[in-house]
């Protein structure tokens, strides 16, 4: 019996409708004042952590490399976006879009700049060199006093990171990385993780794809950085220290390397957790470490493994079941339970 499949246009229609519904509902709720200031802030924060985790997952989960400088790209994007927004050279809506794109592009350029030499290295070496890069960025930003105001902080950044802006970015990042991974380019990236020598023997330009994955990852990290800047309205280089990179990595590992859905869920959980655990604030780091240890012991592939959520697949299963039940009832009963 042929399994039931939802035609592609219908699937796209359903997904788009649901996403728009989500955006409208979310926007209404955050605007309505139903939630407190703190809750709204958390929801926005979940948004850019999702982008950070999903973009890091591209390099860590799909490409199979371990960079430790994701906060560096975030910082570059944050300052690029913030400085552009502060200049007020465009009308607001256009300014938001251009500022975000600029943040992404500048971060992607840094990604290529770092990626070309760094990706010749593997494993620990790549981790160390990207870690160093992240720190260098932070130090440079601190010392570029005339532009960034260093440790005193860049103030008066327009607060552009509304629910709508942040979650449109979330949806675009997830969609782009998803469609990328379901293409020949995505398969090339996966093949490098699986076996680099075999990938080359199949004619996959491994260096090109490594740099590309790195650049795309940096692009979205840069956008997340700009959203971060537009949320707080103030930036200090210390926002982008090594621990930020580690936090993002922890989200990806907890969610499951190579699972976008896992990254999304873990980003939400790990951002909400400190909020919920406020009374236990002193033990926060202990709780995090315990969580990581427990997950690594009982589910080393992360909460979601490499599972990826697909609404249409679930729908197809449900409808397929219903149809086959109907058929069994309508026709002769084959004695199947």
């Amino acid at each position: 019996m042929k399994a039931f499949t939802i035609p592609t246009p219908v699937r796209y229609g359903i997904n788009t409708a649901l996403l728009i519904l989500f955006l409208i509902a979310g926007n209404a709720i955050t605007q309505s004042g139903l939630l407190g200031r703190a809750q709204n802030a958390i929801i926005i924060q979940v948004g850019f952590f999702i982008i950070l985790a999903v973009s890091l997952n591209l390099v860590t989960g799909y490409l199979g490399q371990l960079p430790l400088g994701h906060a560096g790209f975030m910082a570059v994007g944050a300052y690029a976006g913030a400085l552009f927004w502060r200049a007020h050279i465009l009308p607001e809506t256009l300014s938001i879009v251009v500022g975000l794109l600029l943040a992404g592009v500048v971060a992607a350029l840094f990604g290529i700049l770092i990626g070309v030499p760094a990706l010749r290295l593997r494993g620990d070496y790549l981790a160390i060199i990207t870690l160093g890069f992240g720190e260098i960025i932070r130090v440079v930003l601190t010392n570029l006093d005339s532009i960034t105001y260093g440790a005193r902080g860049l103030l008066n950044i327009p607060r552009h990171s509304s629910f709508l802006v942040v979650y449109i970015c979330v949806i675009i990042s997830c969609a782009v990385i998803h469609t990328l991974m379901k293409s020949r380019h995505g398969r090339a990236i996966l093949s490098i993780r699986e076996n680099e020598i075999a990938a080359e023997s199949c004619g996959v330009k491994t260096t090109y794809y490594k740099v590309m994955a790195f650049a795309v990852s940096a692009f979205f990290a840069g956008i997340a950085g700009a959203l971060f800047a537009g949320n707080l309205g103030i930036l200090v280089p210390a926002n982008f220290d090594f621990m930020t990179s580690i936090n993002i990595l922890m989200i990806v590992v907890l969610g499951g390397l190579g699972s976008m859905f896992g990254s999304v869920v873990a980003a939400a959980v790990l951002t909400f957790l400190p909020f919920v655990l406020q009374p236990l604030a002193d033990y926060r780091m202990i709780i995090y470490s315990l969580m990581l240890i427990i997950v690594m012991i009982f589910k080393p592939s992360g909460l979601m493994g490499s599972y990826d959520f697909s609404l249409s697949r679930i729908l197809e299963k449900v409808i397929g079941k219903a149809l086959s039940l109907g058929r069994d009832k309508g026709g002769k009963n084959h004695g199947k339970a």
């Binding site: 398969r187 699986e194 076996n195 990938a199 023997s201 199949c202 004619g203 490499s306």
Partner: protein, 283 residues
């Protein structure tokens, strides 16, 4: 029959009037002080099936690595359709028409069977990054064509129904077959098979022999294989080269090789007669 000069080309009669597809001239590589391969010369006709045999550690796999540019040779050259491959890397060598399998299987284990073949088809699909992300019509069209091509290729080994399984979950023999399909997907002119029958039972080996011959006929490509299973090598190879300590010590038809006392000595050890069954399953 007299002994052949090991350096003389061997090309089957039907290919003799065609330009060779691949030529190696005095190929050699050193690893530190160790000369793993030296003075390796071979000429392969465009539709020839030939074999490379020799004891373990003789340098057979190293020759495949030299041909596919996993290693750059210390000496000598490889010509593909008359073009020097000196400046090529693995990717360019593949595009120039060389595809291979690996002695220690290198599948993309966490990808599905179909995806493994689709990676092989990577360069026969041409849509760009933007077309992929925005899902242009070209994306859908080329993906559909590539998927049906992948299934077609899997049909060679009757694997079209397991396209959705993880490659790593396949039994050993099936993994070896999948590697061949993946290599074929890159549309090679020369297919290099490194011990394709290793770990297969006699029935599987028998089937593999037929399939190698089928691939050779249907795709009209040259096949160079390394194998220890003498029944397979003697059964399907038209030309055989024998390697010992990194040097070709003999080259010729299966009959010539079986009669060659040098080969019998190097490959089977002294004291063996040059009997018909010479060297069966010696590995």
């Amino acid at each position: 029959m007299g002994k052949r000069d090991p350096k003389a080309p061997f090309v089957p009669h039907r290919d003799a009037y065609k330009a060779p597809i691949m030529e190696c001239v005095n190929l050699g590589i050193d690893f530190g002080g160790l000369t793993a391969v030296n003075d390796f010369c071979i000429t392969i006709g465009p539709t020839e099936i030939c074999g490379l045999i020799g004891p373990n550690g003789a340098g057979k796999t190293t020759i495949f690595n030299l041909l596919t540019k996993v290693y750059q040779p210390t000496r000598g050259s490889v010509y593909l359709q008359g073009i020097d491959t000196k400046d090529m890397n693995s990717v360019k060598a593949n595009k120039a028409g060389l595809a291979r399998t690996f002695q220690n299987i290198r599948l993309f284990k966490n990808m599905t069977v179909a995806e493994n073949v689709l990676v092989g088809l990577h360069n026969s699909i041409s849509y760009g990054l933007g077309e992929a992300i925005l899902r242009f019509p070209s994306y859908w069209r080329e993906e559909r064509i590539a998927r049906s091509r992948a299934l077609e290729l899997l049909e060679i080994f009757d694997m079209q129904d397991i396209g959705d399984q993880k490659a790593g979950s396949l039994p050993y023999g099936a993994q070896r077959r999948l590697e061949i399909v993946r290599a074929l997907a890159t549309a090679p002119k020369v297919l290099l098979l490194d011990e394709p029958a290793a770990g297969m039972n006699p029935a599987e080996t028998e089937e593999l022999m037929e399939n190698i011959q089928k691939i050779n006929k249907v795709f009209k490509i040259a096949i160079l294989l390394i194998e220890h299973d003498m029944k397979l090598v003697m059964g399907i190879c038209e030309g055989i080269g024998v390697l010992n300590y990194g040097r070709l010590i003999a080259k010729g038809t299966p009959a010539e090789i079986q009669r060659n006392p040098l080969v019998v000595e190097a490959y089977l050890g002294k004291g063996q007669s040059d009997s018909e069954s010479g060297g069966e399953d010696s590995a």
